[in-house]
């Protein structure tokens, strides 16, 4: 006699009057394949946990974003934000799609150059640029976005030394009506710092002011803030034009577009509520087109959005280590995915789905990672099917920041696999080994022997 499929017995208290009028979401729809490749096979071949990135999704998303802006504004250029995900393969996909590189450190700058990006198409942002970095950027004619006056004077000195006239922009911070207001990057608009910096550059023969830049915040849910930013930068550009008869070639609105993730505490999933590329494009292009630029003198619009372009393409596959009960009777599930590799679980309620079919019965579950650290919580509460030890799960929307902010803490970092356009899995970053870690360390000779 064939035995019935086993599912662990479960009893769930029915509660009414929950504070969330929309109810809780149950993630029992399994995700068995990613771009036609079986999740089970991926985990068998490349281990667990495992990052998987869909090339198809990346290309589809950047094309969608470009279309949203290019149908509304005549001159648009995307620049790939390296810090969001600087795996070489990922950067290369964006460069193939026409994106420039946007870097924020000497390391990222060198990465872009080593990938073969033309120095003229590298935007160098960030508060820390060493003299060595700046010398290189000036030599390569990169676009240097000045963050503070010390940097402005350093560039001026280096330019004189190198007998070059670097192309620069200033970073402007401003009140766009959102909280918190980001005022740590660049020069403030409202108190006149930005105008002061512009005048300093315009009176110097050593630099050419080609652009104005801002980065107003992160995971922005209000497109209107970008409209305000675009209007303020347009006003600055027009003032430069009026005072110096000098044309600002581009306005760079930085990044910060929200992805489809769900912020902790949100009632509804981000996929239903967060603004689309069209929402952002409409507000930004309207602000620029409605300003007083003459049609033939409209500046190029540069966008450095990272998160919204890559989050959806990334998945993190993992396995159930154990199911437990807390002292209060609550279900706890331990996965082999911890906050060391899923940094963004501090910000989002990541969508988690099983990788195999289950019945519709579910339990409210707290999802822990494998680290021996109390903070290692992936989801405080998720309504999940009755997962068993060794079952597999898929965590969604993990493409942004996790593969750059991950930590080699307690465990080694896993393989990263790209599923290419032909639905073929390819390793793009190898799992770390003990040898990798040890190769960077040196043990002094007097510490080499011990008896324990």
């Amino acid at each position: 006699m064939t035995k019935l499929r086993y599912e662990r017995p479960v009893i769930k208290k029915l509660e009414t009057g929950m504070p969330n009028k929309f109810g809780t979401r149950t993630e029992y729809q399994p995700m068995t394949h990613i771009d036609g490749v079986a999740v089970e096979k991926l985990m068998k071949d490349y281990g667990s946990p495992l990052f998987v990135i869909s090339e198809k999704t990346i290309r589809k998303t950047i094309q969608k974003a470009k279309k949203a802006f290019k149908t509304r504004y005549p001159r648009v250029q995307f620049a790939w934000s390296y810090k969001t995900n600087y795996l070489n393969a990922i950067c290369s996909i964006f460069h193939q799609e026409g994106s420039w590189a946007e870097v924020v450190s000497g390391f990222e700058y060198d990465k872009a150059i080593s990938l073969g990006v033309d120095g003229k198409k590298i935007i160098f942002n960030g508060p820390e640029k060493s003299e060595e970095d700046l010398t290189k950027a000036i030599k390569n004619d990169s676009l240097i976005h000045i963050d503070h006056l010390d940097e402005l004077y350093t560039i001026s000195e280096l330019a004189e030394k190198q007998k070059a006239r670097p192309r620069v922009a200033i970073r402007v911070n401003m009140d766009t009506g959102v909280y918190p207001m980001w005022d740590r990057f660049g020069f403030n608009y409202e108190n006149g710092q930005a105008w002061d910096a512009i005048n300093k550059i315009m009176h110097s023969d050593n630099m050419e002011l080609v652009g104005l830049h801002c980065h107003i915040g992160t995971f922005m849910l209000a497109p209107s803030a970008y409209g305000i930013a675009a209007s303020k930068l347009a006003e600055l550009a027009l003032s430069v034009q009026e005072k110096y008869k000098h044309e600002i070639k581009y306005i760079d609105l930085g990044g910060g577009f929200a992805s489809k993730n769900t912020l902790k505490g949100a009632y509804l999933p981000g996929s239903d509520t967060n603004p689309t590329f069209d929402d952002f494009a409409e507000v930004i292009s309207s602000a620029l087109l409605n300003s007083n630029f003459k049609q033939e003198k409209l500046p190029m619009l540069i966008l450095e959005t990272g998160r919204a372009l890559i989050d959806e393409a990334g998945y993190l596959l993992g396995s159930v280590i154990s199911n437990k009960r807390s002292s209060t009777g609550r279900r706890n599930t331990i996965l082999d995915i911890g906050v060391n590799i899923l940094f963004t679980s501090f910000w989002y309620d990541h969508k988690i789905t099983p990788a195999q079919a289950f019945t519709h019965y579910s339990e409210d579950t707290c999802i822990y990672g494998p680290l021996c650290m109390n903070i290692d919580v992936i989801r405080e509460s998720a309504s999940l099917p009755l997962l068993n030890k060794d079952d597999h799960v898929v965590i969604h929307n993990v493409g942004a920041y996790n593969m750059t902010q991950w930590m080699q803490f307690i465990a080694l970092r896993p393989n990263v696999v790209l599923i290419d356009m032909d639905e073929k899995p390819l390793v793009i970053r190898l799992r770390e080994t003990l040898d990798n870690m040890n190769s960077m360390e040196k043990v002094p000779s007097h510490l080499k022997k011990f008896n324990v």
Partner: protein, 86 residues
Amino acid sequence: MKLRKNIAVSEAGLLFNPVTGESFSLNPIGIEILSLLREEKSDEEIRSAILSRYNTDNPTFEKDYQDFIGILKHNNLLESHEETKA
């Protein structure tokens, strides 16, 4: 171990405790175990009944069964030892 007498369980797996007014839902295997408990079957009898019908092994079921019983106790759905003796 015995299910409290006044507990009502529907075929669809809805359980009602008239003393506390609380309601619970159960999956099919949960309903099956509750009916065996109602019939005052021993742990051993329940284990062998489930293992003969379902595709699982003893350690897995034992762990899940103890967990399930723990939740029934936590929600006061089983008669306590003293009540059983009386």
